[in-house]
């Protein structure tokens, strides 16, 4: 967590982009903004997302720990729950929220994928998430009635169920890739009589 915090503090470039993008958003709230502003807004938003993802990719070794992983899952969950409420908000706030949620979504998906790519934790994750999902589906069915009907007609009342399905599917997807990747790595190293190089977390965050 400390590492993540340090990571956010140390990248002034990201903060500058965030600041400019927010300012531009406020300027864009006028009814007919100049075309230059619109173009600049699109370019800067893309830069913002790209730079954030780039920085995450460069410092990915510092994001491979259980704390970051769990925080990411929780953030993704809150994010997915939050997305449902965007339809009730309009104007500048809605635009900022979409950008904010979009970035969090990409960032958390990156962290989850990154964690499972480097660490062989797919089996416990898939097994436990499948059990949790199955039993929560039972609870959801008991509370909300026919879930198939709600799914087909989009009339579900449970705000927590759809994000849960979404996260479980992501975990299954990344977990499966991670399982195949690590299995291949293990078998290949065994046949070559090489030790399995495991991920070792770095001790200090670079300046």
């Amino acid at each position: 967590m400390k590492t993540l915090f340090q990571f956010l503090l140390k990248n002034r470039f990201s903060w500058a982009i965030i600041f400019i993008t927010i300012t531009l958003n406020i300027l864009l709230s006028e009814k007919s903004p100049p075309l230059v502003f619109v173009s600049l807004f699109i370019i800067l938003t893309l830069c913002f997302i790209a730079s954030s993802l780039y920085l995450m990719f460069v410092y990915r070794a510092y994001l491979i720990n259980w704390t970051t992983f769990i925080v990411s899952i929780l953030l993704l969950y809150i994010n997915l729950v939050g997305i449902d409420f965007i339809q009730y908000v309009h104007g500048i706030i809605a635009r900022l929220l979409i950008m904010f949620f979009g970035l969090i979504f990409l960032g958390t998906i990156f962290v989850i994928g990154n964690f499972l790519w480097y660490r062989d934790k797919s089996i416990p994750l898939i097994s436990w998430s499948s059990i949790i999902y199955l039993w929560l589906t039972c609870v959801a069915w008991k509370i909300d009635g026919n879930l198939i009907h709600h799914w087909l007609t989009n009339t579900g009342k449970l705000w927590w169920f759809s994000p849960l399905t979404f996260i479980t599917l992501w975990i299954f997807f990344f977990g499966l890739i991670s399982f195949i990747k690590h299995s291949f790595h293990i078998i290949s190293n065994e046949s070559k009589m090489l030790p399995n190089t495991l991920f070792v977390p770095p001790e200090n965050f670079p300046d």
Binding site: D120, I123, S127, S130, I131, L134, W135, T137, C138, W141, K142, G145, N146, L147, I148, H149, L152, T153, H182, S183, I186, I187, N189, E190, S191, M193, L194, P195, N196, T197, L198, V200
Partner: protein
């Protein structure tokens, strides 16, 4: 001159223990996967096999996280490891790793199939490096190196590693399977009534509101859905979900309990036994006891003036036996005792009886669970008894080879084993009688549920079967109480036959004994005797002639055993009592004992059995 037995020529105890652990778990899973059942068992079996292998291959490095490779440090140590690896003929040379923590043992080995590691703490590595550079202390460090390399030579690293991972994975997967299948059953219980009563025309109308759908397509969709609902309704009527839940819990949870027993007793026993073999190899190579004694007692070799001696009998009280049973490492005194008397590596009658009784309980838990009860309902005790018989026969080989009396050991083993079985059977039957007297209604309900859910048709039975409890109690008493006694008597007679035959086979002095072929003949004999016992029992049960497949299978087994018997009879005519010296070929009468020589030319018989 007193001859010492070569323990490496006899059945390896570590291999026997490894086979027990793996066979109990994987064998039961394979049995459970055959035939139909309310829930799919084969995916669980497949998952356990794949995950245990994967986990086993990947586990050494997980334990090497806080270790570093000894690249250029400790040259003497590395040289020593290389030298003795060559000498012991290791296929894969180990790599030396230094542990930066002092949590684990000072020195230990890790490995998968092809990758081998020796891990040492820095302190131990420095100590051994120093000892190797001093001529008078050199032998102590060498003893340590040989000891660790022997673990690799004997395959202790992969036997222990795989057994441990198998039990760990079985525990996790079975817990997962119980929760997953229970969740799935509960979900079906909750959702199916809603699904079969659902009107899919709502969906069709909703779709038509959003986009134009052809009427034919909509009708086809509704027809298909009605068909699906009818199928589900039809199948659902036959399923009793509560019984399915009962089946799931009673099938998967016993694996957790037997896994715990195997972990608690057999894995520890495997850990202890491998140390004796490693010690024996050290003495075999160094031709002296002092270095290994100094290594383990941490006494400097220069302080040890006297010769090490121990008495011929190692006393063991009940307290000591219980302590030994739960320890990961053997008691030092017992270890030192086995250096001078290698035959003490093999457990005595009491210890063997305890382990076999535990094994038999494990087998009963598995065989009487819904997993396999369908196959063994008529002969529940037979298979555990058969497996125990094999173990007792293998255990008696060292006694027969050394020419020691076996009757006392046999009586102790069969007696203790029968007593344990009798106590367990008595407790179960007593429990039924108690319920019959004080809570007959509860007993009736319990039996109805048990009978219906324990069988493979649990999922398709709507009601529990009605059981006449008076008849049940009578049958329970009539069939179960005499069973341990009858089966034990039969086993005793069978074992006496096996012992006599094994003694006879050991008299095949002229048999081509390149390495230890006679031992192979002994294993083959025990195996064929068990085939006979298994097929004989099948013959006397009424189920034998049920299907041509049954007849063919058991008939073939019986025929194989008979063929083996005929071949052995011919061999007996050729080899029995004949001197292996081609120039002598004199007939020698009397039983074999360790160190026996030809009366004519003084050629020792079965020299591979002696150190």
């Amino acid at each position: 001159m007193q001859h010492k037995i070569n323990i490496f020529a006899l059945p390896a105890q570590t291999t026997v223990l490894f086979i027990i652990i793996v066979t109990v778990v994987i064998g039961a899973l394979i049995l459970g996967s055959i035939g139909s059942s309310p829930v799919l068992i084969w995916p669980v079996a497949l998952l356990i096999v794949i995950l245990s292998l994967r986990s086993f291959i990947s586990q050494p490095e997980k334990k090497l996280i806080k270790c570093y490779k000894a690249d250029s440090h400790f040259p003497y140590l590395k040289q020593g490891i290389e030298h003795y690896s060559h000498k012991l003929g290791l296929k894969y040379f180990p790599q030396l790793y230094i542990s930066s923590t002092e949590k684990n043992a000072d020195v230990y080995v890790l490995g998968s199939f092809c990758r081998k590691y020796i891990v040492m703490t820095e302190k131990a590595a420095r100590k051994w490096e120093k000892q190797l550079s001093h001529s008078h202390e050199k032998a102590v460090a060498q003893a340590g190196i040989i000891h660790e390399l022997t673990h690799l030579k004997n395959g202790d690293d992969w036997k222990l590693g795989y057994a441990r991972e198998l039990l760990r994975v079985t525990f996790g997967v079975m817990l997962w399977a119980t929760l997953f299948y229970s969740g799935l059953t509960v979900l079906l219980m909750v959702s199916l009534p809603d699904i079969v009563n659902y009107d899919f025309s709502i969906v069709s109308k909703k779709l038509e509101e959003q986009m134009p759908v052809p009427t034919e397509l909509s009708d086809l969709f509704l027809t298909k859905m009605d068909l699906l609902k009818a199928t589900i309704r039809n199948k659902m009527g036959k399923i009793n979900f509560k019984l399915v839940l009962h089946f799931i819990v009673n099938s998967f949870l016993p694996f957790i309990s037997i896994g715990s027993i195997l972990w608690l007793f057999y894995l520890r026993k495997l850990r202890r036994t491998r140390e004796f073999y490693a010690d024996a190899r050290v003495i075999n190579i160094q031709k002296e006891i002092k270095p290994i004694y100094c290594l383990l007692s941490k006494i400097p070799i220069s302080y040890l003036k006297k010769e090490i001696t121990t008495q011929a009998f190692y006393p063991k009280g009940i307290k000591q036996r219980v302590k030994d049973l739960l320890h990961n490492h053997p008691n030092f005194n017992r270890r030192a005792h086995a250096w001078l008397h290698p035959e003490f590596i093999f457990d005595d009658g009491v210890d063997t009886a305890i382990l076999i009784a535990i094994f038999s309980i494990i087998m009963d838990i598995i065989l009487l669970s819904p997993f396999s009860i369908l196959y063994f309902a008529e002969i529940p005790m037979h298979f555990s008894m058969l497996a125990s018989l094999i173990l007792i026969a293998i255990r008696l080989i060292p006694n027969i080879a050394t020419g020691k009396p076996v009757t006392k050991e046999l009586f102790i083993m069969i007696g203790l084993f029968t007593l344990t079985r009798f106590i367990i059977t008595f407790l179960i039957v007593f429990h039924f009688v108690f319920l019959f007297i004080f809570a007959p209604k509860y007993l009736s309900d319990m039996l109805s549920t048990a009978v219906a859910s324990f069988a493979r048709y649990a999922g398709s039975s709507t009601k529990g079967l009605h059981v006449n409890i008076l008849e049940f109690i009578y049958q329970a008493l009539y069939y179960n109480i005499p069973q341990p006694l009858i089966i034990s008597t039969v086993s005793f007679v069978c074992l006496i036959g096996i012992i006599l035959m094994m003694k006879r086979i050991l008299r095949w002095y002229n048999f081509p004994t390149k390495d230890n072929n006679v031992m192979g003949v002994l294993y083959l004999f025990i195996f064929s005797m068990c085939l006979v016992a298994a097929s004989m029992l099948k013959v006397i049960t009424s189920a034998f002639f049920n299907t041509p497949m049954n007849l063919f299978f058991w008939g073939t087994l019986f025929a194989i055993a008979i063929c083996i018997g005929i071949v052995m009879l011919v061999c007996d005519r050729i080899y029995v009592g004949k001197c292996p010296n081609p120039k002598c070929n004199q007939y020698n009468s009397g039983h074999y004992f360790l160190g026996k020589i030809c009366q004519n030319c003084k050629t020792p018989f079965h020299s591979w059995l002696m150190v």
